[in-house]
């Protein structure tokens, strides 16, 4: 791993770690038992990806539990709170589509992340399918589900632009075409789901690519406090 590749592994690893944590919060709260299983399954896949990626950089637990908020490189999208099921599904649709396309490109190349991406893309295909199936059902289900799904899509839209900022150390990706493909794919699902592609800026106005630079949103600090508390309370302990 070159320092640059490490930076790339950290960014991709943090995305997976943080989204896995958010999905873990659903355990025991899902609308139907099958979703308790599915969301935990996706969370586990992502945690597995995070562990591989973080281990390329250093000790996975030191990196997960002993970095402060400003040192995390995940997208702001994945740290957003779960909200209702529609909000979580909107987050899943946006991110899993991105991850599927990104890992597809990485798997096809010969870069340092190609082997990992080739393995992960099979999982990510399933994650995207799950998000798509629920987007269709919520969008084209009842008036209430349509409205909730649209609300989730709208609320999270401004965090999507960050996904297409080039990531240091993640080479061989055509970020422009990634954005175009992502937009086409998401738009097609939303159209079939009778939903509207949100309008407006795809990034927060105060900083572009903020999560990748360690600038996060307020809920993230609280999430880390919970995640890291026990580990930090017993310095040097093994578990």
């Amino acid at each position: 791993m070159t320092p640059s590749s490490s930076a790339g592994a950290l960014a991709l690893g943090d995305d997976a770690l943080v989204l896995s944590h958010r999905l873990g919060e659903w355990a025991g709260h899902a609308p139907v038992l099958e979703e308790d299983v599915a969301l935990a399954n996706i969370a586990l896949d992502l945690l597995g990806q995070a562990r591989v990626l973080l281990s390329l950089v250093g000790d996975e637990d030191e990196l997960a539990y002993l970095r402060e908020e400003r040192a995390f490189r995940n997208l702001q999208l994945v740290e957003q709170e779960n909200g209702d099921f529609g909000h979580s599904i909107a987050r899943q649709l946006y991110f899993s589509t991105y991850q599927q396309l990104l890992y597809g490109q990485l798997a096809a190349g010969d870069g340092v992340f190609a082997p990992l991406a080739a393995k992960a893309v099979k999982e990510v295909d399933y994650h995207r399918d799950h998000a798509e199936q629920w987007t269709l059902r919520l969008g084209d289900g009842t008036a209430e589900s349509h409205e909730r799904m649209q609300r989730g899509l709208d609320a999270l839209w401004r965090f999507t632009g960050e996904m297409f900022q080039p990531v240091e150390g993640v080479d061989g990706v055509d970020w422009q075409s990634l954005h175009t493909s992502w937009h086409t794919s998401v738009s097609s699902v939303l159209k079939r789901a009778t939903l509207t592609v949100p309008e407006g800026p795809q990034t927060g106005s105060w900083s572009a690519g903020a999560g990748r630079q360690g600038l996060h949103t307020e809920p993230f600090g609280r999430m880390l406090a919970e995640m890291q508390h026990l580990h930090r309370s017993h310095p040097g302990a093994t578990w």
Binding site: A27, G28, V32, E34, E35, V37, G141, A237
Partner: protein
Amino acid sequence: MATVAYGTDRTDEAARQAAFDAAVAADERIEPRDWMPDAYRASLVRQMAQHAHSEIIGMQPEANWITRAPSLRRKAILMAKVQDEAGHGLYLYSAAETLGTSREELLDKLHAGRQRYSSIFNYPTLTWADVGAIGWLVDGAAITNQVPLCRCSYGPYARAMVRICKEESFHQRQGYELLLALSRGTPAQHAMAQDAVDRWWWPSLMMFGPPDEESGHSAQSMAWKIKRHSNDELRRRFIEISGPQADALGLTLPTGEIDWDEFKEVLKGNGPCNEQRIAQRRRAHEEGAWVRDAAVAYAAKHGEGKPS
């Protein structure tokens, strides 16, 4: 004509009962399409529903620690375990549905407080070590109870238990290994492990149910070969197995007597977490209603089954 029909029914009834009794006596499996006494059916529905509900409510005390698990490896193990429990709940509801009930009906009864779940899940998980104690003691007690159910007279239940017991044994080993790491860790970790065992030991023993002389359903369940051993017999077996395991862990088991008054209070709904557990279950169900409605509406429009 009516008298003839009546007479025929009675003869059929007696013949069916005799065939059922003979099948049970010969250790054959009763299958969903077979005739069975109404009371046998009702007793199985009650027991399987309670078992399924326990898996579902049992997700809560452990899921309580998913977001605070102290290493990524432990977090992955815990997530997988909670996922397995949801899966066990699904198998068991499916098995119960072969008796002519439905998951919706059973969940409604759980939410209304008309069907029970295991008393153990009304205790709180206060430290990380509790996750290990649940794996070692609670899953250990569950396995002791459930392995004989793999030979239960009702086929779908017995088959579900074969699958569930394999996964439960795996969980138990993981819980033991978690406690072992704590026991051999820092003094603070060791103390955390001992405290968890001290708190979970008695509730684990209560999982075997009331003493034999107070167990209302036992005699009939044993005659039907739903149950194979008495509560006290299984409880003794569990105590015998646990002693050497505690020694190997470097932890001690509490001494004394089971507080049956506490057990009765927990069963009555007055345990530390009864209200909280059922409230969370109800909330998840109620807040998820719009999602389930959406899936039904979508399926009606598009002529497809519900997403799984």
